[in-house]
Symmetry: C2
Amino acid sequence: MNNFRLLKTSGKARAGVLTTPHGVISTPVLCPVGSQGSVKTLTPQEVKDLGMDMILANTYHLYLRPGITIIEKLGGLHRFMDWDGAILTDSGGYQVFSLSRLRKVTDEGVTFRSHIDGSQYTLTPELAIQYQEALGADIIMVLDECVGHDESREKVYAAMVRTHHWAERCLEAHQRREQSLFAIIQGGTYPELRKQSVDTLTGLDFDGYAIGGLSIGEPKRVTFDITEQTASLLPPDKPRYLMGVGAPEDIVECVGRGIDIFDCALPTRVARNGALYTKTGRVDIMNASFREQREPIEADCTCYTCRHFSVAYLHHLFRSRELLAYRLATIHNLAFMSNLVRSIRTAILNGTFESFRQSFLASYKTTDEKTRLTQKKKWLEARSEIRTEED
Amino acid sequence: MNNFRLLKTSGKARAGVLTTPHGVISTPVLCPVGSQGSVKTLTPQEVKDLGMDMILANTYHLYLRPGITIIEKLGGLHRFMDWDGAILTDSGGYQVFSLSRLRKVTDEGVTFRSHIDGSQYTLTPELAIQYQEALGADIIMVLDECVGHDESREKVYAAMVRTHHWAERCLEAHQRREQSLFAIIQGGTYPELRKQSVDTLTGLDFDGYAIGGLSIGEPKRVTFDITEQTASLLPPDKPRYLMGVGAPEDIVECVGRGIDIFDCALPTRVARNGALYTKTGRVDIMNASFREQREPIEADCTCYTCRHFSVAYLHHLFRSRELLAYRLATIHNLAFMSNLVRSIRTAILNGTFESFRQSFLASYKTTDEKTRLTQKKKWLEARSEIRTEED
C-alpha cells in the first residue's frame, strides 16, 4: 500500500502527504507522545487544537496497563482515549531496552520484567504485531532489538541481524493491511551496518522506514551524520521516520537531512520540568528573574497560555507545584513545535528551507551538549516525578 | 453597602442575589477553592464554563507565595490569574491555625511560621485587611482566631472575644468599600457563645456574616445543630456564609438551615483522590470493578468527562497516575456540584425545597462518620501529594 506522496523537496528536506485511516497528514510531522494513551495533561481536543494530527502511543505501556485485551474490548485505542486523529504505536522494542528490567533476548523474542511491578512477560515479533493490530493504530512498528550507543560493533551487528529476521516475521504476521507497517533500520553508529540494514529491509515490502537506535546518548554530530547517511539510502517514495528525536533544533537539522516523521516526549517532558521554548532558546520558568514579569512567555505567541497568562503567573504556578502549571507549559511547547513544523513545511514548499534553517539556528540558542547528555542520562536512569501540594 | 437581596425562602432555605464588582451571583452558591490562585488542574475558563461564579483564594497562601506586593503590582488577583468572576478571600486566620507551625496568638495578632519554609511572619487584623484589599477580592474576611473543636470552653470563649476585638479593628481598617467585608461568628460548639458572638458582631456594620470554627472534626450532627442555631439568629437581609463545608449532602442540609454561601476544597480534593460524585453517592474510581466499564461515570451527566470518556479510561488514567486523570475527575465533581446547587435554588424558588432535600438524601449514600473523620484527620495532619510517572 503506498500511503505517502512526496510533494516537494528543498535541498534534502521533503514536504509530503501521508494518508492514514484517521486523516491525511502533512509532513514533516511531529507526533507528541502519549505513552499510556494520554498526551500528558491535555485532552485529545486540546492536542488536536494545537495542530497535532498524529500521536505516538506505546504498546509496551498499554500492554502492561490496562492490557491490550481491555482496550480491544472497549473498541480500540482511538475510542478508548477519544482521539480521532492518527496514532503511531511503537512495538515495545525500545521500551524493553530502556525501561524494563532483566531482559533476555533470544532469536525467538525478548523476555523482560515490567517496570511497574516486576512481573515477567515475553514479547515476540508476532505478538508485537498482534498487539498493535488489536490497538488499531494507523502506523505500527516492527519489533527491533535495541542496544546501547557504546556497545561493541559485534553486539550492534548481532542485534541488527536479529532485527532483520524479526522484521521478516513481523511482515509475515501483519494481517490488517489498512494499518501501515514500518521497518526499523538499525546498525548503531556504523555507516556500513546502516547501509546493510537499509539494503536488507528495503528489499522487503514495508510501508515506511524508521531510523532507530539514535539519540540514545551518542554525540549529536553522530546522530546527524548517521541520520543523513541512512536517509540518503532510503527510497524517496516511502515515508522516513526518525525515532525519539524532537528538540526544536534537531527537527530543523533532521528535516534538512531528509526525515518526514518525528516523535519525541521532549517538548512535553521539558514543559513539565519548567523549560519553555522561545525563538531564542529554552527558558527555565523557575528562574527568579521571572517573578514579576508581566509579559507572556513570547509576546507574539498566540497559544492559550501566552494569550492569558504572564510569565510571573506561570513562575508562581511552577513554584507552587500547581497542576495547571504543567498544562499551560505543555500547551505552549506544543504550540511552539506545531508552529515550527508548519514553518518548516512552508519553507520547503517555497523552496527556501536552507535559509529558514540558517535563520532559525542563528537565533535559537541550543542546549549545550553536556547539559543535553546529563539530562538524557538522568532521565534514562530514573524517571522523575511531579509532586504537587494539596489545598 | 447592601449587596444582598433575598428573593424567596422555602422553609429555612433561602434563594437570593449577591451583587459584587465582578458579577451578580445567585445564591445558594458554592465557591471552589483556589488557594494559590488556581482551582487545581483547571483553567479559569473551565471553572466559569462549569457554572462557577465565585472562587475562594487564600490570603495566607498568596502572602507566602508569590507575595501580596507582586500580585498587586501585576494588577491584582483577578488579572494575575485571569479570572473575571468574583473572588472571596479568607483572611488567613484558619490557615494559620490549620497549616502553619509554632503560632503565637496575642491581642495584637498572630505570629506563625510558614508551612513552606519555616520563615516567621506576623499577621494582624489591619494587615489581613490591607492584604485582602491589595489582592482586590470581591468579598474579604475579618481575621479570626480559630481553636480546635475539642478545646475547653474557656479557650473557645477567649478566642471568640479576641475574634470580636479583631473584627472591630478590621472594620476600622477597611478602606476600599466596594469590597464587601464579612465578620466571622465563632463560639465553637457552645450555643450560648454562638449567640453572644452573633449579638456582638451583628451590632457592627458588616456586609455579611460567616460561621467559622465548624467542620473541623466535630460530629456532623453538631455541625448541623450549631449551623441551624447560629443562622436563625443572623439578620435575614445579610448573606450567610458557612466556611469550609461543601460535601454534597452537607450543602443540602445546610441550605436547609439557612446558609447562602459555601466554600470547600472537598469536591476538587476528593476528585484528585479518585472519588467521583454520583447521584447515589461517591464512587472510588480505583476499584477493580471499573476496569472494563464502558459507560461514563454517570449516564445522564453532560460534563466534558462523561460526554467523552468511559469509566474504564478514567480508571486507567488514575492507575497510571496520568495528570489528565485529576483534571477529568475535577471537571466531573464540579459539574455535579454546580448542578446540585442549581437544582437546590430552583427547588427553593418553586417552594419545594423540603421535598427536594428528602429525595436527594434518600438516593445519595453519604460517607459514613468514621470514614469522614479519618479522612479529615489524615488531611489535617499531612497533606497528601500527587506523584506522576514520566513518559
